[in-house]
């Protein structure tokens, strides 16, 4: 349907974009395309993929830093890190199950979507680990920001702008992340039968304890037969056994608790990370809502009578995953209405293309913020050729 541009290196990438800029040819930008159903549908003549630019460019385990060309599969980077007992900290979501896509997610796609999973709550988001980028802006110029050192305040932090910009500001050619030692052991404390509000209180108690809870999720009825609330600790074996024990003491007011570990627990956290509970039925729309945890349960209580949904909580209640029927606006008005006034924002992760074209996939922004964002878009991509309209009309 479209011509595919697959530059083999950064210079060819710059050339391709410069040509598109001169001809004002809109480009769909992708890595492996595993998140192509995420965002507003594009109407572009050509697709540019970073898949031709691969390879780890830098790995210094003692400096806890790894760099890779944008098209490098995440899997390859994770394997390289695992050899030295290290890992990316932010536990990125694998969207393939939810979005029904195949292929290997790339490092560039990871950065461009600021993709962060359960550990975000303690270890920071993808954007917090991303310390350097090289990219080509919409004029075809090669730009760098940040670098390979984790403390760097030299100049404006364009790295943050690139993270989560969904390919609309520039096409990344190389990304550099800080990494951490991979957790040696993992234990999860499980509480049973709590309603949403109590579960969020329990997670707050755990996260507010000194025991470094780095995953906190609640699976209500509709996802689990009996609601489950999970709090995860990771580290050296002696240490986490102690911490899991102390955590149970902190949580004793919330009923009896079990501890799970090993493959079962790991599989459960992968399902939470990837929102696998909501993958079926395939046609359901899926939303992510970010909110201060203390306001999440009340907003969901408001939503339930107005819209039949299945949902669960990650990030201690700060992230609500919601599945709703795809009809009409796929629940946009009901969900955004229920969370109105809470400071929350809702993102439509999965829906038919016509729904994504009709409703705001990303939460609409106040006029002043939208104006700044439009100005920033123009400062990177004056002709508006990079993923035009992927985030909002005009961006």
């Amino acid at each position: 349907m479209t011509d595919l541009l697959q530059p083999a290196d950064e210079a060819a990438l710059a050339e391709a974009i410069a040509a598109a800029h001169a001809a004002k040819t809109p480009l769909a930008v992708e890595g492996a395309g595993t998140k192509n159903g995420f965002g507003r549908p594009l109407q572009t003549e050509r697709t540019l993929t970073t898949r031709g630019m691969t390879g780890v460019t830098l790995y210094e385990p003692s400096e806890m830093v790894i760099g890779a060309r944008a098209g490098t599969p995440l899997r390859e980077v994770e394997a390289t890190l695992a050899e030295k007992g290290q890992a990316l900290t932010f536990e990125p979501v694998d969207y393939r199950g939810l979005l029904g896509t195949s292929g290997e997610p790339t490092m560039g796609g990871l950065a461009a979507s600021n993709n962060s999973g359960p550990r975000r709550i303690m270890a920071g988001a993808c954007r917090d680990s991303l310390i350097g980028v090289r990219f080509v802006n919409g004029k075809g110029e090669i730009v760098k920001s940040g670098g390979r050192v984790m403390k760097n305040v030299t100049g404006l932090d364009l790295v943050k702008l690139m993270a989560g910009s969904w390919g609309t500001l520039g096409v990344m050619s190389e990304v550099i992340f800080k990494v951490l030692p991979a957790p040696a052991h993992v234990m999860t404390v499980v509480l049973h039968g709590l309603d949403d509000a109590r579960a969020i209180e329990a997670m707050a108690a755990g996260l507010g304890s000194p025991f470094e809870v780095n995953g906190a999720a609640h699976l209500p009825s509709g996802v689990e037969r009996v609601p489950k609330t999970l709090l995860r600790v990771e580290g050296f074996r002696e240490s986490i056994a102690y911490r899991a024990g102390e955590l149970r003491t902190v949580l004793k007011g919330f009923g009896p608790a079990d501890v799970i570990e090993g493959d079962t627990a790991a599989a459960l956290w992968r399902q939470i990370r990837d929102a696998s509970f909501l993958a079926e039925p395939r046609d359901a729309a899926v939303w992510r809502v970010s909110v201060a945890p203390s306001r999440a349960a009340a907003a969901m209580a408001k939503l339930h009578p107005t819209l039949p949904v299945r949902s669960f909580y990650d990030w201690g209640g700060g992230l609500v995953w919601i599945a709703a029927a795809p009809a009409g606006d796929a629940g946009a008005a009901a969900i955004r209405g229920a969370f109105a006034g809470t400071g929350a924002h809702a993102t439509l992760v999965r829906a038919p293309a016509e729904v994504r074209a009709a409703v705001s996939v990303f939460e609409p922004q106040p006029a002043a913020i939208a104006a700044l964002s439009a100005g920033i878009k123009a400062s990177f991509d004056p002709a508006g050729i990079l993923n035009p309209g992927r985030m909002t009309a005009g961006l």
């Binding site: 003692s62 007992g85 924002h345 920033i376």
Partner: protein, 483 residues
Amino acid sequence: MSGIAFPIPDAGVVARRDEIVAGLARLVAPDALVTTEDERRAFETDGLTAYRRLPLAVVLPSTTEEVASVLKFCNEHGVKVVPRGAGTSLCGGAIAQEDAIILGVSKMNRVLDVNFGDRTMRVQSGITNLAVSGAVSYEGFFYAPDPSSQLACTIAGNIAMNSGGAHCLKYGVTTNNILGVRMVLLDGTIVDIGGDALDAPGYDLLGLVIGSEGQLGVVTEATLRILRAAEGARPVLFGFASSESAGECVAAIIAAGIVPVAMEFMDKPAIQICEDFAKAGYPMDAEALLIIEVEGSDAEMDATLARIVDIAKEHGVQTVRESKSAMETAAIWKGRKSAFGATGRIADYICMDGTIPTGQLPYVLKRMDEIVKSYDLRVANVFHAGDGNLHPLIMYNVNDPVEAHKAEEAGNDILKLCVEVGGCLTGEHGVGIEKRDLMRHQFTEVDLEQQMRVRAVFDRQWLLNPAKVFPLEGRWLPDSEAA
């Protein structure tokens, strides 16, 4: 010192001073406006005291709305604005200019809201860094970034410079610990960027604003992430016969999967200066000293420290001092924390702030020593070893213009060295005026122009902190682009 240029003041603005002051007087409470020369003197410099410029006027608003009306006025009348927190910037980020007003947030210093359940707090930006942690410590919580100036420096300044501290190896820097800001744009529009959720929709404007050195707007409120403190924290002190073995020990600790909360390095001159001052019991025969701190329960700390001590022994550590009490912990940290003050007692100094890949440490230490000796000066090194953020203190005599000039030149050479080995000009202090003219060593014209095009989205006329960060020549203006 005189090596760093200031732009020539706009004579038209200076001539209109009375009119501008009268205009400002209509916008803010009388006690918010500082106009006499004597009082303005207090605002002519910051932590980079070798440079000073008398501001046109100083405005110290008490509300976001006052800040908005002042910025709107300045925008309409073409008056430059230098935002200011506590004025502790070491890179001249808050230094005034004759044709600019200082807009200080120090009166806006209240805690607005604390939510322990969500682990967030909302503060006015003029509150000091230490007061923030102080306001939540009764529940065992703290705010993680801890720059050395934390007693005085403000959250507004921390946001402007993306400040770090000794504990960022584990907890990150300012940008990793802020969820939202209320900011006033140059035209007086008040915007909320981010909020109290863990992410925000659209472009990461919050990440852009943090570290933007007061060039994009004036932040008046911030929502901070607060954390529950660990059960305990305890340092161990190591003395090594060479900086190479100290550096290898740091690398080996990380390779073993241990990320201590802090790893601080001092070289021999720094050890001597600090010991003379603090009497902390540092090993005077050591060439390099490491202070490594771990957190957790007593049993966890015992176990982790035992592993760290084993690793240090494999790397030929000569002195091992484990803290057994709060008093010993305080003593171990006392020398390090007084490093800047102790150095200031024996000489004037400039404190550099480059970051290097830690693997380059032995080479950089050797080259730094050569550079400083070639200028006939002395240097003491204190730095955050885990993240490669160096703080060489170059000592000189401020009353000797030749020596002062040499100190600046040596500093510039050291920062260029940091960039050459793959690092950067500034790890946590900011660019300000101090490193402004070195920016082309780290960035290409295209890199800088992209940054300046983003800057122009917020400030087309270069009115906000205009003499900072970007070299004075070659500045990008929106009008220079053919439409």
